[in-house]
């Protein structure tokens, strides 16, 4: 209240610098609603665990006067109904409306349930009361400002513990059906998961009610395939046509351990839960969610919220993500990959299939603390969907000090005084975390920037349900937010000041869906602009929106509109004027035309460049079984818990050459530890037969991670060099000599010992004697990360290799990639190296020993990264070799820069003989350690003395962790650049050109260079991912194979749909004639045909 008054005073004097949103205070709006929560001995969070989840908001025109009205739910108080009188003045008509609800109210939604053209109101109830106190309520609009409750008459007075309801036409029969999102009120732990998942609970489980069209609904949950088990904790539901087949699908979020559900509409009245087929991972404590086309590609994207805080202090103080073992345990018990942060699943397309890449961290919206409502809307009307997130929690009760110290101490104190511990009194003492909501502006580059303050929304509150509507009918979304113990916020949007254009669309549907719920609209413009929106009323959390769409258009003056009505009727309007409300009538629409998807899968004039070779047609087989890399289950974290990722999963290696001299290229792929490598001989008819090589079988315990063919013994046939990697034992590389017929033999005396885990190999002629010498880079020092491992330079002395490594190169870094080129054009081979915490390093060769020296080295400034691969090629055709390099990417918590690097300080802090690597990265301008207090103690138990509480550790930096005397002996490493990109060689000077945002969504492991679109310019095909990062960070699986097409100015543009889906843990990509091979870790090989 106090803050609101201050703002009111500020507004007049600040008219010229008005923020996008301004608060309309209760005195002006007349909206005095607040969700008052009163805790008592019987009514509190211990009695009912969703006590602090807050209420909802529904916006819609209840009295058909052209102005959207508002209904609020209060958990403990009565709902309040406000009629919009225009000019942001509202009249409280709660009493007259006869909308009354006792018990514990949760979500509210409007919908024209009986199809009479008037919005009705449906209120969900929950709590720990009896069945009748929980029955949901349907208030039928009597068209005179009053409502009559008729839930039982319609058969939808569900007695479940409901969070929210959605009315939508899932069976396309022209009336609105009802999905009810429910939640359990008991958190069960320690049970048989498979049993529990399959169980059905009539109170906790979600429900689907089919509208029979006769004023009655039928519960069809079971027959329609809806999961309704006792462990679901539904907090969010979003309806959209996720797979682009013209039928509404459904995403349901679940709190706690239970997986989210993605229900794909089977078009026959049933749904099939298909989460794992579409999403690589999800939020863990999933809360509110929303759907929008965030990248304007005509496909709906999905956001789910979670509770990861933005600031380091709260990350360290509150319960964080699960550790490795707990995570693995959940996985083994049948749960999916779930991580504690917001997830933005962006739809991607490969041929006729839609998949999703999760890019929440890249987009910068992954950490918004304890979050409830997510609402996408183009608030500034610039043509990109922005994002509003509410958050806050009444008690900070995942506080780790409370768990481990405060609570047990209080309990012990009570017991010693002979009293029963009073948990409620302890909970009451916990502070509230009032947080600022987040308002993000969509930058249009797969990114969002935080504009909460700039757009005028920096008011801390416990905010839950929220809804948008255009209260003043000026063509932009205003917002209303339901707060706990504080008046609701009414935010007026002043987008009109920004002179952006808009188009608002209302729908008049046929049959009993008069508001056109389910209509899909694609608005496009001549400049290539294209955005899809689907009309659904329920969005965000416990709330429903005004049933219309607003498209922000920036400066565009005319647009084309493509509408698909639910059921498939189609309507295309071209050259439409902007800045108006367009009313579309379903009766004007044409019949279904067989392309009912609203354009998601339309590829007008576009043909994919690659087609998939189906799994059953993969030519690389033995005994009929296609090649599959099998990784052993060695777990690096058991030995070194603070590693950033595992180093034992770097294979397979892939190499291509004509080994038998028949003019046809053959294929070599290495196996995991214990799996012998495979050699596939090309028969020239599209078949490749695996040739058993006894030496390969013999050395199967060596894990091949890099391989190349070259003629080392000068007999005119390709020999095989295989680098041994991993993070345990067996690091001896092997050189297999070819007899010319593809028979490979191994002579252990040819190569010197290689004692480090290998990461890279390159061949070059060091001394100009015409035979091939070898550089072999070390990747990691097993058990002592990040001690620089040994790298080697082997000189070929008449077929026997001698270690000729100059001193400075022996421990040059953790080398993941090496390339050879004559960078300085002096006719002598140069070496380009990169790796983890390594800058891109060019070593200029000289003919005489020591061949390389520290004073003939070029380190590209600010290029230290986590480089995975690097290729040398003249991309721009200027005669100078350029470098193209794959890095970690930015779809992670860390976003290093020269001013804010990722750092690693490593030393044996406690003198127990093990290296203690302490990672830090910048959070809000300060370098903070990655490790949680528990993880740190697991590695260095003696630090318990230094940090006796979580609070004591919450602000610690690496300087507090490593004492000064140890720090002076520490290895100090920095990475300043995580982006993939290319170093353009302009007459000997390298210019850094990072790739577009899409290419930063995943760790790039390999890059294939070729002119794939036949325009004479080299293009780039990027593959990667990383499934074995720290459990808290989770699988990096957003990579789907990205094709970058080179434009005329040397720019690289993301090809929208190359037809490739490299969606596994890809390591290598290579071309064999017109085939593209993708070698994946612990997975089958993928093959694509170049069209």
């Amino acid at each position: 209240m106090k803050i609101a008054c201050c703002l009111l005073l500020l507004i007049p004097c600040c008219a010229t610098c008005q923020t996008l949103f301004t608060l309309v205070p209760p005195e002006r709006s007349g909206i005095r609603f607040q969700n008052t929560i009163t805790e008592s001995a019987t009514q509190n969070v211990l009695a009912y665990e969703y006590f602090y989840n807050g209420g909802g908001v529904a916006v819609g025109d209840l009295n058909n006067d052209g102005l959207p009205d508002i209904v609020f739910t209060s958990n403990m108080g009565q709902p309040q109904v406000y009629f919009n009188k225009g000019n942001f003045v509202f009249e409280d008509v709660s009493r007259q409306s006869r909308i009354k609800a006792d018990g514990w109210k949760t979500g509210v939604t409007m919908a024209d349930v009986n199809g009479d053209g008037w919005l009705d109101v449906y209120i969900c109830r929950s709590g720990n009361g009896d069945d009748d106190s929980r029955r949901n309520l349907l208030f039928i609009n009597l068209k005179n400002g009053t409502f009559r409750e008729a839930g039982a008459r319609y058969g939808i007075d569900d007695k479940g513990n409901s969070t929210q309801a959605v009315f939508f036409d899932y069976d396309h029969d022209g009336d609105l059906d009802l999905f009810i999102l429910n939640h359990s009120i008991k958190r069960l732990k320690n049970f048989d998961v498979a049993y529990m998942k399959a169980a059905r609970d009539s109170v906790a489980g979600d429900k689907l009610y089919r509208n029979d069209g006769n004023g009655h609904f039928t519960d069809v949950s079971g027959q329609a395939g809806i999961i309704g088990n006792p462990i679901c904790f539904g907090l969010g539901v979003a309806i959209a046509d996720f797979n682009g087949d013209g039928w509404p699908d459904m995403y349901v979020t679940n709190d706690y351990d239970e997986d989210d559900y993605l229900y794909i509409n089977q078009k026959n009245g049933t749904f099939r839960e298909s989460l794992s087929a579409y999403l690589g991972h999800t939020s863990k404590y999933s809360m509110g969610c929303d759907v929008a086309d965030v990248n304007n590609d005509g496909m709906s994207d999905l956001l789910t919220l979670d509770m990861l805080p933005e600031d380091n202090r709260r990350q360290k103080l509150l319960k964080g993500p699960d550790g490795y073992d707990h995570f693995q345990m959940l996985l083994n018990n049948g749960y999916y990959y779930q991580y504690m942060r917001n997830m933005l699943h962006v739809a991607t397309k490969a041929g006729d299939k839609i998949g999703f890449s999760e890019v929440g961290q890249l987009a910068g919206i992954s950490n918004t603390d304890w979050s409830w409502s997510a609402l996408f809307g183009d608030f500034d009307l610039d043509g990109w969907q922005d994002l509003f997130i509410t958050n806050g929690y009444m008690r900070d009760y995942t506080n780790m000090d409370f768990l481990k110290y405060t609570a047990p101490d209080e309990i012990a104190k009570s017991l010693r005084q002979g009293q029963k511990p009073n948990l409620f009194e302890m909970v009451k003492k916990m502070p509230a975390s009032e947080l600022k909501s987040y308002l993000f502006r969509n930058t249009g580059k797969l990114g969002f920037e935080n504009v909460t303050q700039e757009w005028g929304m920096g008011l801390p509150a416990l905010s839950n349900g929220a809804a948008y509507g255009d209260f003043d009918n000026d063509g932009d979304w205003d917002l209303v937010v339901n707060n706990i113990n504080q008046p609701a916020f009414v935010w007026q949007n002043h987008a009109e000041d920004r002179k952006n254009n808009y188009l608002k669309i209302r729908f008049h549907g046929d049959r009993k869906n008069g508001f056109g719920v389910g209509a899909r609209v694609i608005v496009s413009a001549s400049d290539g602009f294209k955005q899809i929106q689907e009309l659904e009323m329920t969005h965000g959390f416990q709330s429903s929106m005004e049933p219309c769409l607003i498209f922000g258009l920036g400066k565009r003056q005319t647009v084309d509109i493509d509408v698909t009505w639910p059921g498939g009727k189609r309507q295309v309007l071209t050259g439409q004027a902007v800045n108006r409300t367009l009313i579309l009538n379903e009766k004007d629409a044409g019949p279904a035309d067989g392309a009912p998807n609203g354009g998601a899968l339309q590829t007008a004039g576009y043909h994919p460049l690659f087609t998939e070779v189906a799994a059953d047609a993969i030519p690389f087989r033995s005994d009929g079984i296609p090649f599959r890399h099998v990784e052993d289950d060695y777990n690096d974290f058991k030995r070194e818990p603070l590693l950033p990722h595992q180093y034992s999963r770097m294979g397979p290696a892939l190499a291509i050459a004509d080994v038998d001299g028949d003019g046809k290229k053959d294929v070599f792929i290495s196996g995991g530890k214990g799996q012998p490598p495979s050699l596939y001989i090309n028969d020239g008819k599209g078949h490749f037969a695996r040739r058993k090589v006894p030496a390969f079988e013999e050395y199967r315990e060596f894990e091949g991670v890099q391989a190349l063919f070259a003629d080392f013994d000068h007999n005119g046939t390709p020999d095989l060099y295989l680098v041994s990697g991993g993070n345990a034992t067996n690091f001896q590389d092997q050189l297999y000599l070819n007899d010319g017929k593809g028979n490979f033999t191994y002579n252990p005396d040819v190569l010197p010992l290689t004692e480090s885990s290998g990461g890279a190999v390159a061949v070059l002629d060091l001394d100009g004697d015409g035979d091939l010498d070898i550089f072999r880079g070390g990747q990691v020092t097993t058990g002592a990360y990040p001690t620089p491992p040994r790298s080697y330079l082997f000189r070929n002395d008449h077929g026997t290799f001698k270690d000729a490594t100059p001193e400075f190169m022996r421990h040059i870094g953790m080398v993941n990639t090496a390339a050879v080129a004559d960078i300085d054009k002096d006719g002598v081979n140069d070496l380009v190296l990169a790796g983890e915490f390594m800058p891109v390093t060019i070593l200029f060769g000289q003919r005489k020993a020591p061949y390389f020296s520290a004073d003939r080295e070029l380190i590209i400034p600010h290029s230290s990264g986590w480089w995975n691969c690097l290729k040398v090629v003249d991309l721009d055709g200027d005669g100078y070799p350029d470098l193209v390099a794959g890095n970690e990417g930015l779809n992670c918590q860390m976003k290093p820069s020269p001013a804010g690097p990722v750092t690693l300080d490593a030393v044996d802090i406690d003198g127990n003989g093990s290296m203690d690597p302490i990672f830090s990265y910048f959070i809000q301008g300060k370098s903070c350690p990655v490790a949680t207090r528990d993880e740190l103690f697991d590695q260095v138990p003696s630090l318990k003395v230094k940090f006796p509480s979580y609070a004591a550790y919450a602000d610690a930096t690496v300087k507090d962790i490593i004492p000064p005397e140890a720090m002076s002996k520490a290895i100090h490493l920095e990475a300043e650049e995580f982006r993939s990109g290319w170093f353009r060689n302009v007459k000997g000077t390298f210019h850094w050109l990072p790739f577009a945002a899409g290419a930063q969504a995943f760790p790039v492991r390999d890059i294939l260079i070729g002119d794939f679109n036949h325009d004479g310019l080299p293009d780039l095909l990027l593959v990667g991912n990383n499934y074995s990062a720290r459990a808290e960070w989770g699988r990096e699986d957003a990579g789907k194979g990205l094709l970058l097409l080179q434009g005329k100015e040397g720019e690289f543009l993301v090809a929208p749909d190359p037809g490739i889906r490299a969606d596994k843990d890809a390591r290598k990509v290579a071309r064999l004639d017109d085939l593209i091979l993708i070698a994946n870790n612990n997975d089958a090989i993928q093959v694509y045909h170049i069209d």
Binding site: E49, F191, T398, A407, P408, K638, K944, P948
Partner: protein, 443 residues
Amino acid sequence: MRYRFIILTSLLGLGLCREVRSQAIPDAQIFRRCARALTDVIVHDITPPPVASRDYVYPMIAAYEAARPGDSAHDSFAGKLNGLTDLPKPEAGQKYDWLVAGTTAFYNTAYAFVFTKSLFRQYWDPIDSELRERPVEPDVYARSVAYGQRIAARILDWSKQDHYIETRSMPRFTPGGKPGTWQQTGPEYMEAVEPYWNYIRTMTLSRPDQFLIPEPASFTSQRFADERKEVSETGKHLTDEERACAAFWDCNPFAVTTVGHLVYSVKKISPGGHWIGVTGMVIGLEKQPLVPALYSYCLVSIALFDGFIAAWDEKYRTNYIRPVTAIQQAGLPLWQPMLQTPPFPEYPSAHSVISMAVAVVLTGLYGDHYHYTDVTEEPYGLPGRKFASFMQAASEAAISRLYGGIHFREAIENGSQLGLEIGNQIVRRFDLHPVGPHPPITP
């Protein structure tokens, strides 16, 4: 007997004047407060049971060795415990305050082991001020402190060679996932505790597996099915008495309770802490002088320490499944044990091992048929329980694990047998009477 105990504690709280106090409170009673301070910090630090046994044994031995020269009837442990040799001796002909020497050695040793040192100091400060007010000459006081410190330093050196530090950098345990093997258990699915505890140097055992017990029933055997059924059925029909028994002996240092997102823990003394408490109680009841009191603490601590090493050695050798996992797998997916299952393999029951080992030691020291009421769990809200002997108490501790649903019968019976052998080896080594076969363990 309990009456006496209460009077003593209330006297401590009354702030009597110095002379009265120093006469009224025997030295051993003051030392009991030292032990209590250590226990409280061990509880606060959430110390796993085997680690707690280590936190007790070295400070106790340090205290004993520093105070022992004050009582010619008691010998040094040097030469009798693995790796412990030549300890510093007091200066001949000089006067010492043996309580000051003993408590100083105790404090300095324990301080190195506990994590929340500020809390230990906070508990220690009132004890320290009382000690400073003892009617001894300043030079005697200073000499006693110095001697205690020298002993502590030597004991700490000795402790550093027990391989504890090396075990800190060993790979974390990976559950095998094979049928019949241990899996992490709810509600927190914590990682396995101390998988390398058998690397720790024992005190009296020649090796961790000096006393081998039979392997547990094969997972696929009828015997296993019967044992599984016994635990699940017992758990379903627990009597109030069985519940009380299981709760009394729970001794879970970190039971995590979850109410939605609200997660909190309830801490209790570990099994070792429980028996240290019982030992203190008996010392009080028996009005033991300082050195015999410390001797009792030491033998009990040694029994705990070796007992945990032997139990842990067997646990990670057999890597046996916990009842909750086996029972849920066998068609009772909702079955829950009454107690939270501790995070380590099942066989044998370590509580049975150490309880029996300690009971043998206490019987050797204070005799069989020792009637007492165990009130050590009262501060944790659990009423006292009456016992007719230490052996009876140990048997009850053992069977309580079956009621609690966290152990099978074999783990309890064979665990008790292991404890009996460890306890008897200790009493024989220190010239006490061994105990015959332990009483049958029946509900």
